[in-house]
Symmetry: C2
Subunit: 354 residues, 2 copies
């Protein structure tokens, strides 16, 4: 073992030890970072909310008998953007949390917080977006609620959706099932949604044709379950914090290492260009219609072929592998043969992305 290797090993061991400690919420006030899906979010959830509410994790769909249930609030700004709007996002977001839990979407509730003065046309647009996305995803809207707050007390509207799904009999999905050797697939190009929102805000002098990838992931999950059955070990939708955050959460939860081959990660050239100019790694940028799948090695090729046949998944790719060491960490192998740690983000580069 060369000196550099031993030094690297020592550093990795140190990070792994620090990371295995339970998180505590010690902040004095809420910052935008607590909503960004990175380290601060994790600390708020694992250090305060989950223990107080007696739940293990607050991010995913929970099982209630044979049903799965998942809730999310949407505060995306602006509410309309290339490729979609808050209405579609709110439906697809809850649909996808169910789908990656192996549950077929069944019923949805929609709760609206509307801003006084919101134009009826704008409201109608979102109501139609919600209805259209629900129909496309095959989920039935069963109930809802409406509140109104004074001008300036929300941005046009906030939407909270809760999805109910039926756990699919073919699905045996859990982070606990990750095994060294498992192949890691993504269902298409990454970073589209977050980049589209950033550009839609007009804060950057960039003019690229990038659309949000918001869509229901149930068809791709259905395809994967049919093709791979028990060999499909775990699924996640890579929303806030992007693929990097999903991989870090799973590595930490399962005590495995994740190694990503950077050259294999599909990124739309316009997204790659925008991210390079903005100094952001697309691996951390939110997606709203992309999943990450962990598949047993012998089933990986078939799973990838099946995934590519699902709507919106032509660019699906195998991007890495589960390893043993260093436990709880994500490493990236670069095109130049080097490797680096891909950690959770501490700050919030992209607030209010969903």
């Amino acid at each position: 073992m060369a000196v550099e290797d031993r030094t690297e090993q020592h550093a990795l061991d140190l990070i792994a030890r620090v990371r295995s400690k339970p998180l505590r919420f010690r902040d004095e006030q809420i910052t935008m970072a607590h909503g960004a899906g990175g380290k601060a979010s994790q600390t708020l959830i694992e250090g305060l909310l989950a223990p107080a509410f007696g739940v293990r994790e607050l991010g995913d769909a929970a099982a209630v008998g044979e049903l799965a249930i998942s809730t999310d609030s949407y505060v995306v700004k602006p509410i309309r953007f290339p490729g979609g709007s808050i209405g579609e996002l709110a439906v697809n977001g809850s649909v996808n949390d169910l789908a990656v839990s192996g549950a077929r979407p069944l019923a949805l509730t929609v709760s609206l917080v509307l801003e006084e003065g919101l134009g009826a046309d704008e409201l109608r647009h979102e109501v139609e977006a919600i209805a259209g996305a629900a129909e496309a995803a095959g989920i039935e809207i069963v109930g809802g609620d409406t509140k109104v707050v004074e001008r300036g007390h929300c941005d046009s509207m906030y939407v909270c959706t809760t999805g109910i799904g039926r756990l699919d009999e073919r699905a045996r999905l859990s982070p606990a099932l990750l095994r060294p050797g498992d192949r890691i697939l993504v269902s298409g190009s990454i970073g589209d949604h977050g980049t589209a929102i950033m550009l839609a805000r007009g804060e950057f002098e960039l003019d690229a044709e990038i659309e949000s990838d918001t869509r229901s992931l149930w068809p791709s999950v259905d395809t994967l379950l049919e093709a791979s059955g028990d060999s499909l070990h775990c699924l996640r939708d890579a929303t806030r914090g992007g693929v990097a955050t999903v991989l870090n959460e799973l590595a930490r939860e399962s005590g495995v290492a994740v190694v990503v081959d950077e050259a294999q990660v599909p990124v739309h050239p316009a997204v790659a260009g925008a991210c390079e100019i903005l100094g952001i790694d697309p691996m951390y940028v939110a997606n709203e219609g992309k999943l990450v799948a962990f598949v047993a090695p012998e089933a990986a090729d078939e799973a990838l072929a099946a995934l590519r046949s699902a709507p919106g998944c032509k660019q699906a790719a195998e991007i890495g592998e589960v390893k043993t060491d260093p436990p709880g960490m994500v490493l990236v192998e670069t095109a130049f043969g080097g490797r680096r740690v891909m950690d959770l983000l501490v700050g919030d580069p992209l607030p209010r992305i969903c």
Copy 2:
């Protein structure tokens, strides 16, 4: 029939005809009234949301197989008030929507929209309020979500809860079961919550000791189901818009008349005093722990006795009766022997009460 009687009958017929028309949403923008639970809310829901989403009504718990599901957003201002806070309100509100649908509360999701700069102590207080109310109501928190918006873009926090309950086998509840002769019970003094919030805002120079009545209604529903079984025809929790709004919605939905004996309606003296000074009828003021029950006449006395034995229901009372004429309307018989129409409110006297 005296001349006055015929004139009154003519007026009532006219109102009934207007009221039976389907509502259309024609407003150009959202106003605070759309969130108040009165006519504007009804128009928004029945005229836009429900048809677009393909649901009959958006206010109550919906049935999904043997389960009931209900969602609500809470934007109450201030978030703490005598007798409770937004956390308790958010839990009890969804619990009660399930309870009055005849469903035993089972599982709850909690989605938070937090304001940047919110103090950790304030957050902890609400997290504990949520956990405490859930424990008191016997409902398990199974999942959640957290978003953060910039300073000024929400008031400390908005909370959205979704409750799942199991439909109780004893329950046969529906507005369609209302029959002329049915007795109308309320589970206690009305208007406490809304009055407590108004006074907590400090907009009025009134100093009365009034506490919110926020609590789980499942124990009182359980008691009523046990005592009355099939004789219990319909239940509603009288939240936004108060008892008057609940009675109007049911009269309209079922095509029956409702006659209320004003002298029998229990009102806390401090609430009655505050409402008189503010020029508000307590029948329109929000409750967060009171239900309205419709019971077959022969079972009414037993139901009332049972209800009075439930926690928080000592002041339960029989306040009126279902009649045939005029269909779709609510009439109040005053202490002086007169009667008047008690219509839905058009404006919003009490914004952001829950």
